[in-house]
Every structure is written in C-alpha cells, then in structure tokens.
Symmetry: C2
C-alpha cells in the first residue's frame, strides 16, 4: 500500500463526533431520521478504479476522463470526502496509473485517501482495498472499519443521504442473509476475505454510472449547471443608491429565476464576500459604476485566489462597465481592453475565467433597458458555458 502524497486531513477518532458532524451537515436532506443511531460505526470506502473504459470509445480510462479539465475520479472523491464520517477512502488503481492518481490527489487537494494497486479484475481490486483496511499493517495509518462502502469510481453524483442509509442498513442487518440475497459476488468476496462488514451501494437515478461518452457530456452539463446556481454581484457603490448597477442586478434576478443572485461587499473588512466565497459561489459579476479601472476587479480576484475556491471548479469573474461613447474617448477603452487580456491570462493559470463586459449606456431609457437585458444574457451565457476559450474578451452589450 502506498500512502497518498497529500497530508492526511483530520480523522474522526470519536464516533460521537461523526454523529454530530453528520447531523449538522447541510448535505444531508434526509435529516436526523437517517443518522446512524447512538454510536456511529467506523466507516471506510473502497473505490475500484482499475478499469480501462473500453466502452467509452476514448483512449483514456473513463475514471480519468476530464470534466471541466478535472478527471472524473476527482469528482467522485470529492463527493465521498465531503462526508466527514467516512474515515478512510481507499482507491485501487493499476500500477501504470499510480503516479497519475497521486498527481490528481495532490492537485485537487484530496484528503483521507490511500492508494492500493488494482488487481486484474474488479473483484481483485476490491479485495486489495479490503485487505489494506483489514490488516492493520504496522506502517499503515488506516484502522479497521466496521462498515466498508464499495463505490464505483465512475459514479460521481453520490449523495450523503444515500451513503448514510446504506451504512445504517449495514449496521442494523450486519451481513445477514438479507444482504446476501441482494448482494453480488463482490459482497461475498468481502465476507470471505475481509472479515469485516460490507454492503454494496445499490443504484438509483442519482447514482448513475458514467459508461458511455454521452454520459461524460451529461456529467459535464450537470456539473456546469450545479455551479451556475449562485451568482454574486459586487458593486463599487453604496447599496441604497438607485443606479444602473442595481437595474442590472434586478434584470439578472428576473432572467435567471432559478439562480440565487446575491450582493457582496468589497469594502474592508470584506466579511460579506468572504462568507459568499466560503459558501462556494463560483460566479462573480463585478459592476463598476463609478470607475473605469480594474481596482475592484483586482481586489475581488485576489480574494478568490487566496481562498483556493478555484482548485475544484473554474470560477467565472465578469467585470462590467457602463459606457457612454460620447463622454469618454475610445482610446482609453482600448487600453482597458488590453489590460483585461493581461489579467485574464494571469488568473487563468489559477482556474479563474475573467471576461469584460461593456454595457452601452445611452440617454434613452428604453435603449438602456435593452442594453441591460443583452448584458444579462451575455453574463448568463458566460457563466453557463464556462469556456476558457473566451477569457480576456471584452464583450459589448
């Protein structure tokens, strides 16, 4: 067994801690009902990830296929590691993919992961994972769990409540005949060699498996949609003013009626914005009403950079300006355009996608409304598509 390159994160030494954590987690829609009773069992997960993904029709094994440039298996690890009562996650990968897997764990800062070598079959890989958990090897920092969840590396959309139900069922039934009846060979393998309780996670619509290339497309769209549900608008003016920035905010709220649109403040001590970043908002619209420079955008970008928010998903930042052609000479705008291209190039390395948006600001109220609506459409498009091919562009509404 090879230890993961990332430093192991905090482990739950106390089962009561696990219970509390599960109860307080916002990711558990089933609520208290589905929690493990009294003493939460020690839980680990084994991910067989030694497959070659022949059905996908692409040379890369499917668990390593990129979605928004991040490998599929990283999404599955993320889904499991945000469940704080899963103590250890053991991934079985082939020898030739061991370094690739270490790189993924390091780059995306995964925690509580251990790697074992995959076997020639899926069953053999599961066996290797279970053995690592069961043996209490002297140089291992893994401890023997009471329940092991065996989860496919290519099912990235597993939710905490499903895992919790499985663990509760496993704890209550042990590995009774009931389990065996619905289990597969994998379960019998666990019973025979693992000397520990094990139960397979049964499939459900949410638990669907990425098998074909079309499933990768679907996964990318689902992920893009999920991270586009929350937009933060940062204004360079006070909140109570009745200005064009607020009109834009209203139009965005109306056009994106399923999306949470919130306002953030950049002014020190920046509490609001820090909170929004902590809530994992991946979309920022920096509205510059008073100024025509990149100061506000730069401060916002620095906060996003410092937060490490963009490690897992590309963060979209759109810097908006209102342009009255008559009052400002155009050469100055060209300089700004060049500036945004430079900034965009720099922050793209940190997985931040920066674009500029000039909204035409005529005197005519009706024309202004049309400009604002087009601006909102462009903002929605940039957030929805999240495509790095357009970074640094100065779009015009």
């Amino acid at each position: 067994m090879e230890p993961a390159p990332a430093a192991p994160g905090p482990r739950l030494a106390d089962s009561r801690g696990a219970e509390r954590a599960a109860a307080s987690s916002s990711l558990n829609p089933a609520g208290a009902e589905a929690q493990p009773r009294r003493r939460a069992p020690a839980v680990a997960a084994v991910l067989p990830a030694g497959g070659s993904g022949e059905r996908m029709g692409v040379p890369t094994p499917k668990q390593f296929c990129p979605i928004l440039e991040r490998p599929l298996i990283s999404y599955t690890l993320q889904a499991l590691e945000r469940v704080c009562w899963i103590k250890d996650i053991v991934v079985a990968v082939t020898g030739e993919n061991m370094d690739r897997m270490k790189g993924i764990i390091q780059k995306y800062q995964h925690q509580r992961i251990s790697l074992v070598e995959a076997g020639v079959t899926r069953h053999r890989s599961i066996f290797n994972g279970l053995k690592a958990l069961a043996e209490d090897q002297p140089d291992s920092n893994l401890s023997k769990p009471e329940v092991v969840i065996i989860h496919d590396a290519v099912r990235p959309f597993v939710e905490e409540d499903v895992l919790l139900k499985v663990v509760t069922a496993a704890k209550e039934h042990g590995c009774s005949d009931y389990d065996l009846e619905f289990g597969t060979e994998c379960l019998q393998l666990a019973l025979k060699y693992g000397h520990i309780n094990a139960k397979l996670v049964e499939g459900s619509p949410d638990l669907w498996k990425v098998t074909y290339k079309r499933d990768l497309y679907a996964a990318e769209s689902i992920i893009k949609e999920r991270i586009s549900q929350y937009i933060c608008i940062v204004m360079d003016t006070k909140e109570d003013e009745n200005h064009v920035g607020h009109h834009l905010e209203e139009i965005l709220k109306n056009e994106l009626n399923h999306v949470k649109v919130t306002s953030g403040a950049l002014c020190p001590p920046c509490r609001d914005l820090e909170q929004i970043i902590l809530e994992q908002c991946y979309n920022y619209v920096c509205v510059n009403v008073m100024s025509f420079d990149f100061e506000e955008t730069r401060r916002l970008l620095n906060m996003v950079k410092e937060s490490n928010l963009s490690v897992l998903y590309p963060v979209v930042v759109i810097s908006v300006y209102f342009l009255d052609y008559k009052s400002v000479p155009f050469d100055q705008k060209m300089e700004n355009l060049m500036q945004i291209r430079e900034y965009a190039k720099e922050v793209e390395k940190r997985n931040i996608l920066l674009c500029g948006l000039l909204i035409y600001y005529p005197q005519d109220e009706q024309k202004l409304q049309a400009s604002l609506r087009q601006g909102a459409t462009i903002i929605a498009t940039l957030i929805k598509e999240r495509n790095s091919g357009l970074v640094g562009q100065l779009l015009v509404a």
Copy 2:
C-alpha cells in the same frame, strides 16, 4: 386522423425505387449487405408520442423538450424521414399537443408525416397509428404497408442501417415465434389488431432513449459535436497566395484534428460553396484579408439564407479581420463593430449565429503566430458552444 399541415413530400410508389434509394444513400454504412432483397417491402413507421415525461423533472413532455431550441421529436422525425424508403410516418400525440405538433412539422418542414390522436396508454397510441395505416380510409392518402417500424419519439439517434436490418428481418421472418419470443406486448398488439407485419426495433447503444434530464444534456452535446465536424473557410483572396488567411487555416486544421476543414469560393458562379452548403456544413469562417467591410460576409450570409440550411440547425458564421492598430484608425473599427451587431440581429431570426473576430496582426512573426492560435481557439469555442448569447460580438485575438 388529421393530415399534417406540411405538403406531403414525394412518395415511393415503386418498391424498386426504394431499393435503389437505400443502396445509394450515404447514411447506410452497412452497405449492400443489409439491403432488402429484390423487392423492397412497403415500410411505414409509427411513433407513439403521447407521453408526459414525468421522470424528466421538467413541465414539458420530454418529446417536446428543446435541444438547440428545436423540440426533441423533430430530431427523431428528421432521422426517420431522411430514410427515403420509409413511406409514411404516423405520429400519435395527445389532443392538447396536436397544434404544437402541427407547428413543429410546419416550422421544420417535415415531410411524409401524418398525425393521429394518442391513446391513454402507449399501446393504445400504437394501436391508433396502426389502425390509420391498415384501414385505407377513403380520405386518407396512406396506403397499407407490409412492415411497420414502431419507434419511440424520444430515440433521436436511430441510424438507417439499424432500421434496414429490422425491416429485412421482419420481411424474412414475418412475425414468427422467433419474433414473438423477443417481442413485447406492443408486437402482439400489432399482430392482433393491425393485420400487418410488425417488429419492434431493439435497443442498442446508438438507439438510447432520452429519459432523464441528463439525457437531454447528452443529446444536446452529441448534436452540437456532430454539426461541428465540418468547417468551411471562405477567403476573399486567391487560393495560391501565401498569406495570413492560409496560416489561420493551417492552424485550424492542426488544432481541430478530427474536424474536416475545407475552403469555399464566393466568386461567381459559386459552385464550390453551393456544394458545401448542400453537404450540410453548418460552420463558416469568412476570412477578410484584403478588405475591412462586410461585403464577403453579406454574400455568404445570403447564400446560407437562400439555401434554407439553417432550418434544422443553427449555422455559425464568423467574420474574421486582421488588425494592425497602427495602420487603421480605430474609429473605423468601431463602426464595423456596430455594423456586425445589426447584421447579427437580422440573421439571428433565420437561425444564423454571426460573430466577428479581430485578429491582432503585429510585425513580429512570433506574436502573430500567438494571435492566430488564439483566433483558432476562439473560432473553435464559438462553433462548439453554438450559443446565441454571443451573437453580434466582436471578439479579439
């Protein structure tokens, strides 16, 4: 039975005609082997489309859910009607969706379609479709077919070779015990009430069914990918010159190595470009090396408009200019920018997505190469995303 609003297309009165057509079709990768023998049977298709799409999680029944703004069922109809030996296509829709369906047939110019009212169950809908084909009603222009293909309205990716194999099997085996063994109740229904041969199309990876919302996402990505495989570059200069337009073409060919990139000529008599439009190329890059106006683009747009190419899919047109800031005053560019916005608005009504692209053209050869590469990335992004939110933009590489 209600006739479809569109005028019926040419019908195959002669079965030999059907055979020849199938043999000459480029959509039949199975080739001569899979053709019906000697006398091709008269074939019709019945599409039950009365479902409510509850599993989709959206209020619109799934067969009417939009993909690139066109309803899913229109893609399925397109897949069937391009198979010229399918004589009639009968669609069963509920009374409340009858007008919507008529509108779809008219807007997307579907041919050989008849509408019947759906029943309360899928079986009842199939029965209604079969009855319409079997009865030879006096006011019907449908004739009794020998083989009926029953095809789900939500399986848009059916290929001609699969349909041909099914028809051949149905013709050879009739409705023997073999068919019944693998058939479902629908087949028995057809046998009992239809007094005609019928066989269900069996599922395969290509024939997958749009069931969940994620399947709509996958379908959209597959369709976008398919229509992005062929790009036509139109130059305003002669072919044999060694100029920047050809450098861009080379880079596009290198970067998009699975995509067919071809050159079209706009000069009268325009044979080349007409041929490319007939070959259903949905992506055009109009490279303006010699001029800084929209004349070439306008001529291209007119040809695309006249061809009706954009009825079924949005056509992407990117008008490219090479910009040396020092030699041309910027105000003139701003005027061009305004012009493209107007053109784009106008052609968007015809489902043509027009964007502009300014490629920076410095003296430094290395910088020029970088600009061209970025230009190619932007072109690839616009074609891949095919999003109307960005029409009329003047992007800068």
